[in-house]
């Protein structure tokens, strides 16, 4: 019974994903905005980064200039997440040894 229910849910989700990816024009847009691979719709911010990134940060690699300069707060949070994960792994595995004694 449980397996049947899970199979039905999985097939429904797969059908929805495949429907959306095969004809993305029906994906809730009525004004001609299509989710077509290779033609993104809103590119103003990225064009600003591509055209001004070299003058403002001096880096050839635009991805690096976004990661460390324009969106530095994202990278700060991500580095904090990595640091906290290492701390948590150490704490969890250290509790293992304390309980063994």
């Amino acid at each position: 019974m449980r397996k049947l229910l899970l199979c039905t849910a999985l097939i429904v989700v797969l059908a929805a994903f495949l429907y959306v990816s095969i004809n993305p024009a029906d994906f809730g847009y009525s004004t001609g905005d299509h989710l077509v691979f290779g033609h993104p719709r809103y590119v103003d911010m990225d064009d600003y980064f591509i055209h001004n990134g070299q003058n403002q940060t001096g880096a050839n690699n635009i991805v690096t200039s976004i990661v460390f300069d324009y969106r530095g707060f994202d990278t700060l949070g991500e580095a904090s997440v990595l640091f906290t994960a290492v701390l948590a792994v150490g704490m969890v595995l250290r509790a293992l040894r304390r309980d063994a004694k």
Binding site: Q54, N55, Q56, T57, G58, A59, N60, N61, V63, T64, S65, V67, F68, D69, G72, F73, T75, L76, A79, S80, L82, F83, A85, V86, V89, G90, L93, R94, L96, R97, A100
Partner: protein
């Protein structure tokens, strides 16, 4: 400890992996790559050594406390470098186009790539590379250290 063939290959590959990882970190503002990718490559070298020689020998060469200290130093360098530009804003690029260290102005458009550019970005790349190296390395060492609590016939 693995056989002699594996150990010889590890001895041969370890310096190459180190050089490749630091190359990726140092050229993060010119070529594909950066701090995270380079740090992950260097941590792969640590994993290679830990697999080829057994953990019993490796734990005297690579100390966990030193790896943790490396990670903390990387995160602190990252935050302090961002904080030094606080007069304009947090994460302000205060070294770019000044003529100082990493401050050479870059010609606009396609160029062959100059290492002495990009202001604070190479410093942050290095800091994050150090941090990822310490974090992933210490995760590997923790797993190898506490695996013998679980399994009787561990390495």
């Amino acid at each position: 400890m693995m056989s002699k063939i594996v150990r010889t290959q590890a001895n041969f590959l370890y310096p190459l992996i180190m050089i490749f990882g630091f190359y990726i970190v140092a050229h993060g503002h010119l070529t594909p790559g950066g701090g995270f990718q380079g740090g992950a490559v260097i941590a792969t070298g640590v994993a290679l050594i830990a697999v080829a020689y057994s953990y019993k020998n490796v734990k005297t060469w690579i100390k966990k406390t030193r790896l943790t200290a490396t990670e903390a130093i990387g995160l602190l360098t990252f935050i302090i470098t961002a904080l030094l530009g606080i007069s304009r804003s947090f994460f302000y690029n205060w070294l770019a186009n000044t003529g100082l260290l990493f401050g050479q102005p870059v010609p606009y458009g396609i160029n062959p790539g100059y290492l002495n550019t990009a202001g604070t970005l190479p410093i942050m790349n290095f800091a994050v590379g150090i941090e990822v190296l310490g974090g992933l390395g210490v995760i590997i060492m923790y797993y190898l250290h506490y695996i013998k609590e679980v399994s009787k016939n561990a390495v």
